[in-house]
């Protein structure tokens, strides 16, 4: 019984890491690559660690696995947020199929503060969406 659970969980974990690595190669722009990689690898590592916790009936292994999963869940989204924000600031273009960019023109160029209310936009604040596939490769 417990072998079947372990096999299912570890297969799901390994597959999700595999899909994350294929996603890095296949996704068309930076934000999609980031989006696919961070989540799938968090889930994959989490599932494999839960497998380790179930497999070894040792308290120290369980506590370590729980602690690692906890810190992974806390830190991975923050890392993704900071990388994505830095990419947006440096002008990394979005994929050409992007249908909406409500963040365009909301930043203050000088102070880097971000507004929440819609103000009148300048003409130069068009969304930074790529026009060809090659721009985002």
């Amino acid at each position: 019984m417990i072998d079947i659970v372990l096999a299912l969980l570890s297969t799901a974990g390994a597959l999700s890491i595999l899909f994350a690595s294929i996603g890095i190669l296949r996704m068309p722009d930076f934000y999609l690559r980031l989006s696919v990689t961070v989540k799938a690898s968090t889930l994959g590592v989490g599932l494999l660690l839960i497998c380790a916790a179930i497999m070894f009936p040792d308290v120290s292994v369980t506590t370590k696995a729980i602690a690692i999963v906890f810190f992974l869940i806390i830190t991975a989204p923050i890392g993704a947020h900071m990388i994505g924000r830095a990419a947006y600031f440096t002008g990394t273009p979005l994929w050409k199929g992007t249908i909406a960019d409500e963040l365009a023109g909301m930043y203050d160029e000088e102070t880097h503060t971000l507004e929440s209310e819609e103000e009148e936009r300048d003409k130069g604040d068009a969304p930074n969406i790529a026009e060809t596939e090659e721009e985002t490769k």
Partner: protein
């Protein structure tokens, strides 16, 4: 509220000490026993919030797990098939969450669901900007998140 939780932890620790086996299943069983004992003891108290909150947290954990698995399957399908099905975009989302702790939890939950990524939070802490992979319509996405994830999360925290 916090007093009940600490009491419950103490009862679970007593159960572990008495049975003498420190496994997580045994600890969970002791926690459930302690929850049941506290529930019986507090039947006549006015403050019953703790006993409604524990089942809510458990149901939220399962709901969140279901959402993660559903979205992961969707993304994995898109990764391995040759055609791209997604319509990405950056959406402005006005939060109902007010304190730093609520915002932190909400943004972690949104970030952990595959296909959504927090790009930035406005400086007055009212809106977040989310990069969504499967965006058919920005208003539908905002409404779904508001009625689904955020309402459930705030029901636990408040």
């Amino acid at each position: 509220m916090i007093k009940n939780f600490l009491m419950n932890l103490l009862l679970a620790a007593i159960w572990v000490a008495l049975t003498g086996s420190l496994y997580y299943t045994n600890f969970l069983f002791g926690f459930m026993l302690g929850f049941f004992v506290l529930w019986i003891m507090n039947r006549n108290e006015t403050d019953q919030r703790y006993f409604f909150r524990d089942p809510k947290i458990i149901s939220f954990a399962f709901y969140f797990l279901y959402e993660i698995i559903k979205a992961n399957v969707q993304v994995a399908f898109d990764v391995i098939t040759p055609k791209y099905f997604f319509k990405p975009g950056i959406v402005k989302y006005t939060m109902a969450a007010k304190t730093d702790f609520e915002i932190q939890l909400l943004s972690t939950m949104i970030s952990l669901t595959p296909g959504t990524l927090i790009v930035d939070i406005s400086d007055d802490k009212k809106t977040i900007y989310i990069h969504v992979m499967y965006l058919t319509d920005p208003e539908t996405f905002v409404r779904q998140t508001q009625t689904g994830l955020e309402r459930r999360l705030l029901a636990i925290l408040r």
